[in-house]
């Protein structure tokens, strides 16, 4: 009883003494127009051509901007460093016109050549860019990136003049502008600066330190204390500096979700990355104005190992799927407003909703299992659920284990592994079913479905369907939206019929936001361009 009674005594003391005069950092920061942003992990780097992460995205998007930017509400492409662009009728050639007043933070003008050099840099194999494949829609980009051609002049990017850039693509790519707006791989770096601090075509370049960093976004990097804080402040050379209302952002990489929530309550943050699962209800009840739950473009699913003898039978896979009460999982276990997933691509992804839908049907599941020769789970080996250690993944796995047991009579065992071991097991295919999550890089069904291409490194289930591959490839070169969606419909129907995965729920972003933060709009990629955001003391 010690902790509780101690807590009670001390809480009473606190209430009696009526403390709390100290001004909170968050309140002072509102006056200073400094946004305090919980950013989860220490960034790997701040070089847009090197990193591969969501946390990095948030920081880099304060320091850099693309030719195209995002509308803060809809995330639709709006003019960024380029004031306008043209697209050729066949959808393969994009011409961008860069603003006359677009400048780097050191005062240099932003030129078309900066982009040509940047795209060559990120695609150069020796840089080892983890995310360079985002540029593969560009003509010859894949071949160059894989070292099959070595002449950068063959890449589909060239400068027509100092302010005009022409991009040539392999195929018409309907999501290209979205990707260019939202994804840092498409943004430029100041090559002269990069060259000054090391080999621009090798990892480990030190140009990204405060004082050295040259960007073209609304803010400049002023401080970077590893594992503690990254500060950015207003960039007076930004082309739209007058529109920027924040004076800066402090990114605080707080790894522990519990510590982050406490920091928010102690008035040290305006925005958290997450909310501890056990605290969502309390916020919903007592402080709904602080809790944000936004739909998010991602799917939480279980991979099924197609090479496993027990799971080879499609009826077993379907039975396991149909026995899951997804609604109960999101209502009781995850509790963050997630939506049960009966398809892989979330509904309304760039106007696409899968026609094929899975179902929850215990009787049907039992029958399937009996047809497969395992009435009430007899003769079926225990299904092993593999997941990386985390309280949430464990709780979901425990719930699913019970559902399979109760609804089908199927036994399941749980196997948790530390993150990198888990990845190794998954890519080695030495699992039976394995938890997975997929967050789309751009809003398009392709971002989801292409992961199940037989040659995709993200497939990892051993599922291999030539018809599916053909449909996805055909869709990627289809310029007509309706025809393209139809191809995706067929592909997704095939995927859900064969079922090398069990979709469980569509992600939401659950986080805390200080009421003073304005111009912050819910959207499916959790992008909130900092140039629009500002802070305002809430009316009492």
């Amino acid at each position: 009883m010690k902790p509780l009674s101690l807590l009670l005594i001390l809480t009473t003391l606190a209430l009696v003494s009526g403390c709390g005069k100290r001004e909170m950092r968050a309140d002072a920061a509102i006056r200073e127009q400094i946004l305090l942003f919980g950013s989860k992990s220490e960034p790997q780097d701040l070089d847009p051509h090197v990193v591969q992460g969501v946390g990095e995205h948030n920081i880099i998007s304060a320091l850099m901007e693309g030719l195209v930017a995002e509308d803060p509400k809809t995330l639709n492409p709006v003019p960024g460093l380029a004031e306008r662009w043209e697209i050729s009728p066949d959808g393969k050639v994009y011409t961008f016109h860069i603003r006359a007043n677009a400048r780097w933070s050191n005062g240099d003008p932003v030129t078309a050549d900066d982009f040509v050099k940047s795209y060559r840099r990120i695609l150069t194999p020796s840089l080892g860019s983890l995310y360079s494949y985002m540029l593969h829609p560009m003509k010859n980009a894949k071949a160059f990136n894989e070292g099959k051609i070595t002449d950068p002049a063959q890449l589909g990017v060239k400068s027509i003049d100092a302010r005009t850039l022409e991009l040539t693509l392999e195929c018409p790519t309907s999501y290209l502008l979205h990707a260019m707006a939202s994804h840092y791989t498409w943004w430029a770096v100041h090559m002269a600066t990069v060259e000054k601090h090391g080999d621009p075509y090798k990892p480990g370049n030190k140009w990204t330190r405060p004082g050295s960093y040259v960007g073209n976004g609304p803010f400049v990097l002023t401080a970077w204390v590893p594992n503690s804080v990254i500060s950015v402040r207003r960039n007076s050379n930004y082309w739209d500096a007058a529109a920027v209302r924040l004076n800066g952002v402090d990114f605080l990489p707080i790894e522990s979700v519990d510590s982050e929530e406490r920091s928010f309550r102690a008035g040290q943050l305006h925005r958290t990355e997450e909310v501890p699962n056990g605290k969502i209800d309390a916020y919903r009840k007592d402080n709904p104005q602080l809790l944000r739950i936004d739909d998010y473009l991602g799917n939480y699913y279980y991979r099924l190992n197609m090479t496993n003898s027990a799971l080879k039978d499609k009826r077993v896979r379907l039975a396991l799927n149909q026995a899951l009460d997804r609604q109960a999982i999101v209502d009781t276990v995850t509790r963050g407003g997630q939506k049960p997933a009966f398809s892989f691509t979330p509904p309304e992804t760039a106007g696409y909703t899968s026609r094929a839908q899975l179902k929850f049907d215990i009787e049907g599941a039992k029958k399937l299992l009996a047809d497969a020769g395992h009435p009430d789970g007899k003769g079926l080996p225990p299904i092993e659920i593999h997941y990386n250690t985390s309280e949430n993944h464990r709780a979901i796995a425990e719930a699913i284990q019970q559902m399979w047991k109760k609804n089908l009579g199927v036994d399941a065992t749980l196997r948790n592994e530390e993150w990198k071991v888990y990845l190794d097991t998954q890519s080695g295919g030495t699992y039976m079913t394995s938890r997975a999550g997929w967050i789309a890089d751009y809003p398009d069904p392709n971002a989801f479905l292409e992961t199940f291409l037989s040659y995709s490194g993200n497939n990892r289930t051993g599922w291999n369907n030539p018809e599916f591959d053909r449909l996805i490839q055909a869709a990627s070169c289809e310029n007509d939206v309706n025809k393209r969606h139809e191809l995706f419909q067929q592909a997704e129907a095939l995927l859900l019929d064969e079922l090398p995965l069990i979709p469980i729920y569509f992600y939401t972003r659950v986080y805390l936001l200080h009421p003073a933060v304005k111009n912050w709009h819910a959207n499916y990629q959790d992008h909130h361009p900092f140039k629009h955001v500002y802070l305002e003391v809430p009316a009492k």
């Binding site: 902790p3 056990g278 276990v333 592994e417």
Partner: protein, 298 residues
């Protein structure tokens, strides 16, 4: 400063000195009420964990989503967890694991640590230096990496759990014992025993270790909670208790972050943990006093 030999008759007794030592100790222990209370509490907790599940209407894995994190009630005396499972049943099962690990792994580390430390301290010189430098090396090696590696090589099993815990927990014990032995060795009664030509094994086991028992027992009572909590960390790495089962360590760890919303998920496992530790400590102190021949003169 002269120190008289602590166990005066030790060097000369020949007929089973151990039996009477333990018998005397038991007589003295019986008089120590706190120690007896500690021992009784331990027995009650152990019985609760061993027999309890058979009497409980629930199983540790049975979920009831309508009972999401309910406070203690007549239906669920210790409340339920976030999957609607009966916490009392989970405490019983968790106790089996925690007590089992706590006792077994501590015994492992105790045996290795005491023998190793005593040997290093008694032999001294180059052997001591080598043995203690090995301890330094083991201290420095990254434990997380070591455990993952062990699991890769041997798979996950319970023996490995003890090996992993034993591998780290004996190091400090060895250092403490060595420190004590180095001092004891210079005392007259040991020097006399050496001069009498007693076998080394006998000197270490019969004379040196019994005289270092105080710090050994104290450190053992510190090792048990450390081991129980280490088990929770190991289950993070995939070794140790596997869900849906849980141990007191993992329950406290999970409960720690829910202390505001669902305090019973922390307080109850923590209470069992604390009660066990207090009991062990009372018993340990009592044992220490009982085994210390010098106190008998009071």
């Amino acid at each position: 400063m002269t120190q008289s030999p602590p166990i005066t008759n030790a060097a000369t007794t020949t007929a089973e000195p151990g039996a009477s030592l333990w018998h005397d100790a038991w007589l003295r222990l019986r008089k120590n009420r706190l120690a007896i209370f500690g021992g009784a509490a331990l027995i009650v907790i152990s019985l609760f964990c061993l027999i309890g599940p058979a009497c409980s209407p629930y199983t540790y894995e049975q979920q009831d989503f309508s009972q999401y994190a309910k406070a203690p009630s007549t239906q669920h005396w210790f409340g339920t967890d976030k999957l609607g499972r009966d916490q009392m049943t989970r405490i019983m099962h968790g106790g089996r694991i925690s007590l089992g690990v706590g006792i077994c792994a501590t015994l492992v580390s105790l045996t290795i640590g005491v023998l190793y430390g005593a040997l290093a301290g008694f032999i001294g010189g180059k052997t001591d230096a080598t043995l203690m430098r090995i301890v330094d090396i083991l201290y420095a090696l990254p434990f997380t990496v070591f455990v993952i590696l062990l699991m890769v090589v041997f798979g996950r099993n319970i023996v490995l759990l003890f090996a992993a815990i034993g591998a780290v927990e004996w190091l400090t014990m060895a250092r403490i014992v060595r420190g004590q032995i180095l001092t004891l060795k210079k005392q007259e009664f040991i020097e006399a025993a050496i001069a009498l030509g007693l076998r080394k094994r006998r000197i270490i086991l019969r004379h040196l270790i019994p005289n270092a028992l105080g710090p050994i027992i104290v450190y053992t009572t510190l090792t048990i909670p450390a081991v129980m909590l280490l088990e929770a960390f190991l289950s993070f790495l995939g070794l140790g208790v596997q869900p849906p089962m849980s141990s007191w360590g993992t329950m406290i760890k999970d409960g720690a972050e829910l202390m505001e919303e669902f305090p019973w998920l922390l307080v109850i496992p923590a209470a069992f943990f604390s009660l066990t530790l207090f009991s062990l400590n009372f018993l340990g102190d009592g044992l220490r006093d009982a085994l210390d021949v010098r106190t008998s003169k009071d």
